[in-house]
C-alpha cells in the first residue's frame, strides 16, 4: 500500500533547521568573530575569544557556580519531589486536596515567581524580614551575601520546579502494579521496607528522566537569576547563561558571548545524546511503552 513521502516533513524540518539547528552552527562561527551586535554580518577575526575564555576567571567562576547550582538543585529537589510524588500518588481525599495546592506554582511563569520571591526576600519589607530571625537570619539580608544569594537562587528554583518533578514521580508511582505491594504486605513488609524494595527500584526510569531534566534545567537557569540577583552580589551568582547574557546583551561583546554560549551548546548536546541513549526514546514504539 502507499505510504506518505518525506514531503510532509519538509516544512517542519526546514523550520527547525532555520531557527534551531542553524543557529547552533552559527553560534560556533560567531565565537570566532568580534561582532558588537550592530551592523552587517560579522566576519571572522581569529581565535581571540577562545584564548580569553580559558583565561577568564569570571568564566571559571561561572562554570563552578553552574556546577554548584546544578548539584544543589538535584540534591534538594530529588528527595522532596520523590517523596511528595509517591505520597500524592495515593488516592486519599486529603492527599488530592493538598496536591492541588502543591501544584499551584506550576501555573506561574518563572518571571512571575522570581518577582514574587524578590519581594518576599526583600530584607526590609519582605516576608524574610519577619521570619528570617526564626532561622538565625537576623537582618534578613539573604540576597546581600554571595552564599546567601546562591542559596536563595537554589531555593527559588526548588520551589518552582519541585511541583513539576512531583508530577513526574506521581505518574511513575501510579504505574507500579498494586499486586507488588499486596504481595509484600502478605510477606509482612512494612511501608518503609516496601518503599525501599518496591517503590524506589520501580521508579528507576522516572528518576533518570527527572534527573536529566533537572540538570538541563539548572544549566539553563536564567530568568530567575536576572530578576532575583542580577548575577550579584558582585559576580557571586553569575552562572554561565547569565554571563553569556551580560557579555552579549549588556556589554555587546557578542563574539565572546558566543564562545560562552558554545560551551552551553556542547554540554546540552552531550546531555541530549545521553538522554536519548539512556531512555531509548528513538527505538520507542508507542507512548505506552516509553521509559
Amino acid at each position: 500500500m502507499g505510504r506518505p513521502g518525506i514531503a510532509w516533513a519538509v516544512p517542519g524540518v526546514l523550520f527547525f533547521v532555520l531557527f534551531a539547528v542553524g543557529p547552533m552552527a552559527l553560534v560556533v562561527y560567531l565565537s570566532f568573530t568580534s561582532w558588537d551586535g550592530l551592523g552587517a554580518f560579522p566576519s571572522v577575526s581569529g581565535t581571540g575569544n577562545w584564548e580569553r575564555l580559558f583565561d577568564d576567571p569570571t568564566m571559571r567562576q561561572a562554570v563552578w557556580l553552574s556546577i554548584v547550582l546544578t548539584a544543589a538543585s538535584w540534591l534538594i529537589q530529588t528527595p522532596i519531589a520523590l517523596l511528595l510524588g509517591v505520597w500524592s500518588a495515593g488516592r486519599q481525599k486529603n492527599r488530592a486536596v493538598l496536591s492541588a495546592i502543591f501544584f499551584l506554582p506550576l501555573l506561574a511563569s518563572s518571571v512571575a515567581l522570581a518577582l514574587l520571591w524578590k519581594s518576599l526576600l526583600d530584607p526590609n519589607f519582605g516576608l524574610i524580614a519577619e521570619i528570617g530571625p526564626w532561622f538565625g537570619l537576623e537582618d534578613g539580608n539573604l540576597l546581600g551575601s554571595g552564599r546567601g544569594a546562591m542559596a536563595a537562587v537554589a531555593f527559588v528554583a526548588a520551589w518552582q520546579f519541585i511541583p513539576f518533578h512531583t508530577l513526574l514521580y506521581q505518574g511513575g508511582a501510579r504505574q507500579i502494579p498494586k499486586s507488588f505491594y499486596e504481595a509484600a504486605s502478605i510477606d509482612g513488609a512494612g511501608t518503609v521496607r516496601q518503599f525501599f524494595s518496591i517503590t524506589l527500584p520501580q521508579l528507576r526510569n522516572t528518576i533518570v528522566t527527572s534527573s536529566v531534566l533537572m540538570v538541563v534545567g539548572a544549566l539553563t537557569f536564567f530568568d530567575t537569576v536576572l530578576i532575583l540577583t542580577e548575577g550579584g552580589p558582585g559576580t557571586d551568582t553569575t552562572i554561565v547563561p547569565y554571563l553569556m547574557y551580560e557579555t552579549g546583551f549588556q556589554a555587546y561583546d557578542m563574539g565572546y558571548a558566543s564562545a560562552v554560549a558554545t560551551v552551553l551548546v556542547v554540554v546540552a548536546t552531550a546531555i541530549s545524546l545521553l538522554m536519548v541513549r539512556v531512555s531509548g526514546f528513538s527505538s520507542m514504539r508507542s507512548t505506552r511503552e516509553g521509559m
Partner: protein, 310 residues
C-alpha cells in the same frame, strides 16, 4: 525544559478513588489486612507532618502574595508583610489594569495562539512522516529532532538575534513566535510520533483498500485518532509561548510589541517600590492559566508534562 515522559494511566486502568482497596476483606488473611492497616497508620504520621510542613512552604508565600495585593502600599510598609490587614482594597489591581496590561495580554494571546498553530501544523506533518514512512531518512529525521530536545534557547539566542535582525523582524511579534515554535518542535514531534504509532495498521489498510489518498488518510484517520496528542502538543506549545521570557527580552523592545512576561519585568521599573501593585500584576498574569487549570486540568497537566495524552 519539559519533555515527554510516561503518560498518565488511562482512566479505565485506574482503580476507583474510593478507599479502602477494592479487594473484599474476606478474600485475604485477616491478620495480614490488619497488619497492613496498622503499618499504613504508622507511616501516615510522619508523612502527614511532612505534608503539612510542605503546605506551609508552598502556601505561605502564596498567601502573602494574595494578601499583599489587597493592601494599601503604606499599610504594607508600616505593618510588614505578615500582619493581618485592616482595610482591603482593589486599588492595586486598578493601577495595573489602567497601565498597558491589556496591550501586553493581547500580545501574549497572539503569540500563544500563533505559536500553537504553527507547531501543530508542522509537527503533525513530521510525525506522520516519521511514523508512516519506512525509509531510513524518516528515522534520521526523528533522531534529528530528538537531538534538539535539550538545546537550551540561551545557547543560541545570539545567532537568533542576528537572524531576526537580518530578516528585519526585530521588535515584532513574529520575532518571538518563530523561534518559540521552533524550540517546541522536538518535544511535540516526540509526542505525536508516540500517539500516531498507536493507530492500528489495519485501519490504514482498510483506508488503502478504499483507495484513499495520503492526504485523505491524514485528514480522516491520523488526525482524528491523534486528537489527544494534538491537544497535548497545542497546550504544551501554548504554555511555552505564554511563559517565554528570553525571546521577548532579547528580540523585542517597544511597548507595542511587549508581551506579558516582559511587561511584568518592566513593571519593576514602573512601580518601583510599590510592591503591592507589582504583585497585583503578578497575580493577574497567573489568573488566565489558573482558569484553564480549573476547567481543563487534565489537558493542562498533560501539556505541562509534555506527556502523550490520548
Amino acid at each position: 525544559m519539559k519533555t515527554a515522559t510516561r503518560p498518565e494511566p488511562r482512566p479505565e486502568q485506574r482503580p476507583r478513588p474510593t478507599e479502602p482497596r477494592p479487594r473484599a476483606p474476606q478474600a485475604r488473611n485477616d491478620r495480614g489486612l490488619r497488619g497492613r492497616l496498622r503499618s499504613v497508620r504508622k507511616w501516615n504520621v510522619p508523612a502527614g507532618v511532612a505534608s503539612l510542613v510542605w503546605l506551609v512552604i508552598v502556601g505561605l508565600p502564596l498567601y502573602v502574595l494574595v494578601l499583599t495585593t489587597l493592601r494599601d502600599r503604606d499599610a504594607y510598609f508600616d505593618e510588614g508583610s505578615l500582619a493581618l490587614p485592616g482595610d482591603l482594597t482593589l486599588d492595586n489591581y486598578r493601577k495595573v489594569l489602567e497601565s498597558d496590561f491589556f496591550t501586553y495580554l493581547l500580545n501574549t494571546a497572539i503569540v500563544t495562539v500563533a505559536t500553537a498553530a504553527i507547531v501543530i501544523v508542522l509537527s503533525v506533518g513530521v510525525g506522520y512522516t516519521v511514523v508512516r514512512t519506512l525509509s531510513r531518512t524518516s528515522q534520521r529525521i526523528f533522531q534529528f529532532f530528538l537531538l534538539g530536545l535539550a538545546i537550551p534557547a540561551q545557547a543560541v539566542i545570539i545567532p537568533i538575534y542576528l537572524l531576526i535582525t537580518q530578516m528585519n523582524l526585530y521588535d515584532s511579534l513574529l520575532a518571538i513566535i518563530l523561534p518559540t515554535a521552533a524550540f517546541c518542535l522536538p518535544v511535540c514531534v516526540l509526542i505525536l510520533a508516540g500517539t500516531m504509532r498507536d493507530i492500528e495498521e489495519e485501519m490504514y489498510e482498510s483506508m488503502a483498500l478504499e483507495g484513499a489518498s495520503q492526504t485523505r488518510v491524514l485528514l480522516q484517520l491520523v488526525i482524528p485518532l491523534s486528537r489527544g496528542g494534538i491537544s497535548t502538543v497545542g497546550v504544551y506549545s501554548a504554555l511555552q509561548a505564554w511563559n517565554n521570557f528570553l525571546f521577548p527580552l532579547i528580540l523585542t523592545q517597544s511597548r507595542e510589541s511587549r508581551v506579558l512576561t516582559l511587561g511584568l519585568y518592566d513593571y519593576v521599573g514602573q512601580f518601583r517600590v510599590d510592591i503591592p501593585a507589582l504583585l497585583a500584576a503578578v497575580v493577574l498574569s497567573i489568573v488566565p492559566i489558573f482558569v484553564v487549570y480549573l476547567f481543563a486540568r487534565r489537558q493542562l497537566v498533560n501539556g505541562l508534562m509534555g506527556a502523550g495524552g490520548r
